[in-house]
């Protein structure tokens, strides 16, 4: 190593330390100046923006220049083996990059967004939690040993809980917070169990030093199941998802963007770290399990999303879908790994990582957009919106960019990763056995339905909230969001397009992870790799979003000119929408969001179990009624058939135990203590 290189290299650790300190000082300063709302707002967001900008630069440099090695920071504490230690390899750097990117944008956005909390909330506390939340996510993905990881994980869970219940006077927010904190701790319990097992069998707590080769087969399986449940809860994988569509909508807009955009990705980080880094790729059934769970989450998540009329709930369910797609990629990679096909494993893992990046960008954008709508109109119910494209043209444009990305339409970024996932499925079907072929083909079919339903969900959202006539006065009087909020969304919208047209540049950032996890590169073997063409596994097919964009850019003016030439004598006229010749069309006659999803609700009624309520108030005539109230709701099958029985039996058990052993009499309790002490004494005396 040349001398100047060493100097630079060691300097990088300080940059990382500096960015954490920036977050923490932002948090503390924001509390200190909480008397001034403007001051708190500025301090918290400027510190977070500066820190995350540092993080972006740090990670891009790490991934492009120093991708051959990793950084370590170790601060020993008095208790062995617990130490504050950071280990930043390419995987960590990639996740820090994703977190920093969204945090940067969210901080810019927050400067405007927080204004509507002025005089009703303590901005200082928000700034404190906000900075701490981002810092804790960065600590989760950079922690170097399992104990520090758990500490960071717990900080992240607690801080995000406080942010979820930030608007704590609403009963549904409190309920959402409670469900969130319970579910997240069930998950944490499983993660702790998995980590304790790892520590017990390897005797090492540091991620870099753990050597899993000595762990017996059965224990490896148990570790895998525990971490799948633990991280799956955080990821919102079906059936562990129930907290997600409650907690994400309850949080303020900028926080839901961070939670859906990046916090749930820390679960993907955990799975990749455990399965690939620590346990070395895993067995065939691991990958199959991840794949199937991913496929089910994708279809069920989006099926629920399509029924929602609350924009943020819809987005939250769609996060479940996208985590499912990410899990499909991870599962395929693990399957390929266990079959010894490293090239395919690399391709699938890359597809999955690409989707992690893309999803954080477009889902962040959509949540920020939903936040803007809420900011301007005070509602998230799309049935009460409409016509916002005229009142909020920029928000509408950015939201549309996000909707196009999430519906995987070229040339936006969602398409690239979805294409890569399809190619990974295709290649895996080609190499697998009969059963694997069937599983994969079913997953591909599920993904296809999920794709159309995702598009349908966002047509519904955009169509009812932004297009046609305003349905309420709130929507009619909406004003465009402040400039800082638009700037935040604009950056993400531009990124959606850029990452969709130049995906190969992103792959170059990602490739270090492949070399680290699987000792292979996605760029090896593919002949004639250019920076504008994306090759599939073994180069058997390829797309070039850039060439596609050029075709589009050439065809659009050509078509415009041709059409103008052909219709040069025709004129353009504005007139009312066809109303069958009765009276003027009003907003109540428009198609509603509930109506839009009705055909699908009817076709899949066995799954949705729709329930409707119709109340009619009749006047003097039998045929014309004065008022009618129609309410339709779907049953959340997992809550009703899985969680409710569990909760009921736990409550029943507790009730019975109370009568049996927990009677409330102090004498009985003293006997318990006495018996336990005696038992312990006997046990230790024997030993």
């Amino acid at each position: 190593m040349p001398l100047d290189d060493i100097a630079l290299f060691s300097g990088y650790e300080y940059i990382f330390a500096a960015l954490l300190i920036l977050y923490l000082s932002g948090a503390l300063l924001s509390l200190l100046v909480c008397r001034s709302q403007k001051g708190s707002n500025a301090v918290a967001n400027v510190a977070a923006a500066a820190a995350s900008l540092t993080g972006i630069i740090f990670c891009v440099c790490k991934l492009l220049i120093y991708n051959g090695r990793s950084f370590d920071i170790n601060l020993k504490t008095g208790i062995y083996p617990i130490s504050i230690s950071f280990h930043i390899d390419n995987l960590s750097a990639f996740f820090v990059l994703v977190i920093s990117l969204l945090a940067f944008v969210a901080s810019i956005y927050s400067m405007g967004y927080l204004k509507h909390y002025y005089n009703s909330r303590n901005i200082g506390v928000f700034g404190f939690l906000y900075n701490l939340f981002i810092a804790s996510m960065i600590m989760v993905v950079t922690s170097g040993n399992i104990f520090f990881f758990l500490v960071a994980w717990e900080i992240m869970s607690m801080v995000s809980y406080f942010l979820v219940v930030f608007e704590n006077e609403k009963p549904e927010t409190q309920r959402a917070g409670t469900i969130y904190i319970i579910m997240t701790h069930i998950g944490t319990a499983f993660i702790i169990a998995a980590f304790v097992l790892i520590y017990q069998y390897t005797g090492s707590a540091s991620f870099a030093e753990i050597n899993a080769s000595g762990i017996p087969y059965a224990v490896k399986n148990v570790i895998f199941i525990f971490s799948l449940i633990g991280f799956g809860t955080k990821a919102g994988i079906i059936p562990l998802h129930i907290w997600l569509p409650k907690a994400h909508p309850a949080a303020p807009g900028n926080i839901s963007a961070l939670m859906s955009g990046v916090m749930i990705k820390t679960a993907a980080y955990g799975i990749i770290r455990i399965v690939f880094d620590i346990l070395g790729g895993g067995y065939l059934w691991w990958g199959t399990a991840i794949l199937l769970l991913g496929g089910i989450s994708a279809i069920v998540g989006i099926a629920f999303a399509f029924m929602e009329i609350d924009i943020k709930k819809l987005l939250a369910y769609s996060s479940v879908e996208n985590m499912g797609i990410i899990f499909i990629g991870i599962g395929l990679s693990s399957i390929a790994c266990s079959n010894g096909n490293t090239v395919l494993a690399v391709f699938s893992l890359t597809a999955s990582l690409l989707h992690i990046f893309n999803h954080s960008v477009f889902k962040g954008l959509l949540f920020l957009g939903a936040g803007s709508v809420h900011y301007s109109t005070g509602t998230r119910n799309m049935e009460r919106l409409g016509g916002l494209i005229r009142k909020m043209p920029y928000t509408a444009m950015f939201f549309l960019a996000g909707a196009l990305s999430i519906s995987a339409l070229p040339p936006f970024n969602g398409f690239v990763s979805e294409w890569a996932i399809y190619q990974a499925l295709f290649a895996s079907a080609g190499t697998g056995g009969s059963w694997m072929k069937i599983i994969i083909i079913v997953t591909a079919a599920l993904l296809a339905i999920a794709g159309v339903l995702a598009a349908a969900s966002f047509i519904k959202t955009f169509g009812t909230a932004f297009l046609a006539l305003p349905r309420t006065s709130a929507a009619e009087e909406a004003k465009e969001a402040p400039r800082t909020m638009l700037a935040g969304m604009g950056i993400l919208a531009a990124l959606c397009l850029a990452a969709g047209i130049f995906p190969v540049h992103l792959l170059k950032l990602l490739d270090g992870i492949n070399r680290e996890m699987l000792n292979a590169s996605i760029f090896q073997g593919a002949a004639g790799y250019s920076s504008l063409v994306l090759h599939s596994y073994e180069g058997n097919t390829s797309i070039s979003p850039a060439a596609l964009a050029i075709i589009g850019l050439l065809l659009i003016p050509a078509v415009l000119l041709a059409v103008r030439y052909m219709s040069k004598n025709s004129s353009f006229r504005n007139y009312g929408t066809w109303d069958c010749g009765y009276r003027r069309l009003d907003s109540r006659m428009q198609y509603t969001a509930t109506g839009f999803s009705k055909p699908v609700r009817i076709v899949f009624r066995a799954f949705y179990r729709p329930q409707r309520e119709l109340q009619i108030e009749r006047g003097s005539s039998r045929y014309f009624f004065k008022r009618a109230r129609y309410k339709v709701s779907t049953v959340s099958v997992f809550e009703k058939y899985l969680y409710e029985p569990i909760v009921r039996s736990v409550v029943n058990f507790a009730r019975r135990m109370r009568l049996l052993i927990q009677t409330g009499s102090i004498h009985t309790y003293l006997i318990y203590i006495f018996v336990v002490v005696i038992a312990m004494l006997i046990y230790y005396a024997r030993a």
């Binding site: 079919a445 009312g576 929408t577 428009q590 076709v603």
Partner: protein
């Protein structure tokens, strides 16, 4: 480079020229069977020319999405047709596109068409959008299954249409197998559903009963309507081309002129088949469409199973 551009232009001309003719032929055949004389097969072109000259009326409620949609739909479907050329010699961009891309390029048009249906605030157009999304959610998995099965064929091993054309053209009649027949029927059902034909939808009316594709276009007029109509017929031709070159591939590796002639012949035959299906069936109730889609899906699954799990 120059050759590539020539190929693109030729493909675009073939597509734009042939697409309205296919619709015209289907209409003519239907008319003859119903003992009507029917309009000329070239009526589609006259209609388009007329529409381009007509004035455009746009609703007060509509936003820029409504005006942009016809152009976006047209351009995206033209771009898609470049990746499914009439004959293998016309692959100008074979190396940068594949079946998944084509499916999603078609989806762009659907996305914007459904959005513009929501844009004018009319109940009818919104109903069309809603139903269109339901039907495509039901049809899309079969489409993906057929494409995957075709791509997984040992002769092909890729999802790019270039490889698919080449793989299927190579062995003469050797590609015919039970699996192939099942997939072909499934693909026919997919084409009928995707192009809004009887029994799924009726392209010749906009009654409430049949309000799917035509309902979405209800508010369009003039050049916008012309673009929407021609895009729909290009989409139809594109899907027919997939059948021609994948399921009836013989002759496609002959000389250019011969192959083009055969291609036109094959397109005419398949249009005839679609017309016959349309004549001999009735429009289904909207909520019977899932059964129809399930049939396509089951056939595709059986095709896949017999091909890869049971061998042939």
């Amino acid at each position: 480079m120059f050759q590539g551009i020539v190929k693109i232009v030729v493909q675009l001309i073939i597509t734009a020229a042939l697409a309205p003719l296919v619709s015209g032929i289907i209409k003519k055949l239907k008319a003859r069977v119903q003992h009507r004389k029917g309009a000329s097969v070239f009526q589609g072109y006259f209609d388009l020319l007329k529409l381009f000259k007509k004035d455009v009326v746009v609703s007060h409620n509509a936003s820029w999405i409504f005006t942009a949609t016809p152009y976006i739909y047209f351009v995206s479907i033209l771009a898609a047709s470049l990746f499914v050329p009439a004959i293998p010699q016309l692959f100008s961009f074979g190396f940068i596109g594949d079946a998944v891309l084509v499916v999603y390029l078609i989806a762009i048009g659907r996305f914007f068409m459904a959005l513009s249906g929501m844009d004018t605030g009319s109940t009818f157009t919104g109903m069309g959008s809603s139903r269109e999304m339901m039907i495509s959610a039901l049809i899309e998995p079969s489409m993906m299954l057929v494409l995957f099965t075709v791509g997984l064929n040992p002769l092909v091993g890729s999802l790019s249409f270039q490889a698919i054309y080449k793989g299927f053209a190579a062995p003469g009649w050797g590609f015919v197998s039970p699996s192939y027949l099942l997939l072909l029927i499934s693909m026919l059902i997919i084409v009928i559903a995707e192009t809004a034909r009887i029994p799924v939808d009726d392209p010749s009316t906009h009654l409430e009963l049949t309000m799917v594709h035509e309902a979405m276009l209800l508010e369009y007029s003039g050049r916008h309507l012309a673009l929407m109509e021609i895009s729909a017929s290009i989409k139809q031709l594109l899907l027919i081309t997939v059948i021609c070159n994948v399921f009836i591939p013989f002759g496609s590796n002959a000389g250019v002129i011969q192959a083009l002639g055969l291609y036109v012949l094959k397109v005419l035959v398949i249009s005839g088949v679609i017309a016959v299906i349309e004549i001999n069936s009735v429009k289904l109730r909207l909520f019977s469409v899932p059964n129809h889609a399930a049939l396509a899906f089951i056939l595709a699954v059986l095709g896949f199973m017999s091909s890869f799990v049971f061998g042939r």
